[in-house]
């Protein structure tokens, strides 16, 4: 059970990464990047590293997505 779930999570990280670089809508791409960070944190917990998982959680869940959104808004507003 443990190994199977870990493989599923790693596959989901891969899928989220591929989506993050290939989606056209930048908003969805940023959300996929945040999702990759989420699955990575769950993988860290399965491997027994709560401190690393907590660091990944605190940065990747809110702040990373937020900075990307600000950057997208700034660059798209400059182009309009």
């Amino acid at each position: 059970m443990n190994g199977l779930l870990l493989y599923l999570l790693c596959f989901s990280i891969l899928v989220s990464g591929i989506l993050a670089v290939s989606l056209r809508n930048l908003l969805a791409a940023v959300a996929s990047a945040g999702l990759a960070s989420l699955f990575a944190a769950v993988c860290y917990i399965f491997l027994g590293a709560p401190d690393v998982a907590m660091t990944e959680a605190s940065i990747g869940s809110g702040l990373s997505v937020l900075i990307f959104l600000y950057a997208v808004r700034r660059t798209s507003a400059a182009r309009e």
Partner: protein
Amino acid sequence: MIELVGGVLILLGAAFHFSAGLGMFRMPDVYTRMQAATKASTLGNTLVLAGIAFFHPGWSLKLIVIVYFVFMTNPVSSHALARAAHAIRNSMGRTPVVDALRDARQDRQRVMWRILVAIVVASFGLIFATVAISHVEQQSLRPLAESYVRLVPEALRAPNVVTGILLTYRAFDTLGEVAVLFMVAAGVGLVLTSSERGNDDTPGPGRRAVTQSSEIVRTGAQVLGPLTAIFAAYIIMNGHLSAGGGFQGGAVIASGIVLMLLASPSYQLDLKFLSVAESAAGVLFVVSGIAGLLFAGGFLDNRILPLGQFGAFFSAGAIPLLSVLLGVKVGCELSVILDRFRP
């Protein structure tokens, strides 16, 4: 008997999660999908955590706090998202797609480029796969790791080995990371000057249309802001006892401040206070390091404060103090950076 009740609750919660996924997949419209996902997943989460509480009664307080946070945040965020979906459908007639890629129908050259990229990525994947498959997990720790695992509870009296290493044995590297973060903040401050933003009364072409957020979001943020601050203090102060520490707590502080910024857009950060606090925390970090040099074994030694009893709240010497300083510095820095980024 109690275990049976707990098991049934866990199974019921998992079934609700499955139905949330099914609803997300099969519902026809974005609003119905959001409704299915939010309601069912929140309820499933509550049931599973209630079931776990039957197995471990000592964990109930933490589980109740998790349930409370999810209950407060999930509906509010879903409400805000639904409002946004409704707003963009009404205003534009189709959802605006920020199309940053060029037109992919363009030429065969693009297809060739993609094939080349795929080959490179596949070869990297093959190299990593060979390394990963031939990896043999070690049966015992290496000598250095073994000595750290032995020394941190004995010499430093800190139950959390990772925080003990980060804030005493490798505290110099932590100081280097703090310096890097400071350089990032200074760089962002140079590149993104806030004079581009102007005040609220200078209108850009649709850029400064700052709408007021809905009452639900504002109330939710008012409730969650202080809770997030308390939670950040818990993570920082608990760094030497269980998982946590300065960086994580600082990031949570910054998230709490940014939450207040997002929920009420007219909220202005007191940048002067934040930069003073950040600099003071950084200076105090170095001062305690020099105090370690003067009064104890070396730079950033933690024995300048009494070591105390193993597992007590005020123990492990200067590690709680360093955690607090680190948390304050990282939190202030991240919120200043995020404030400068705001369009």
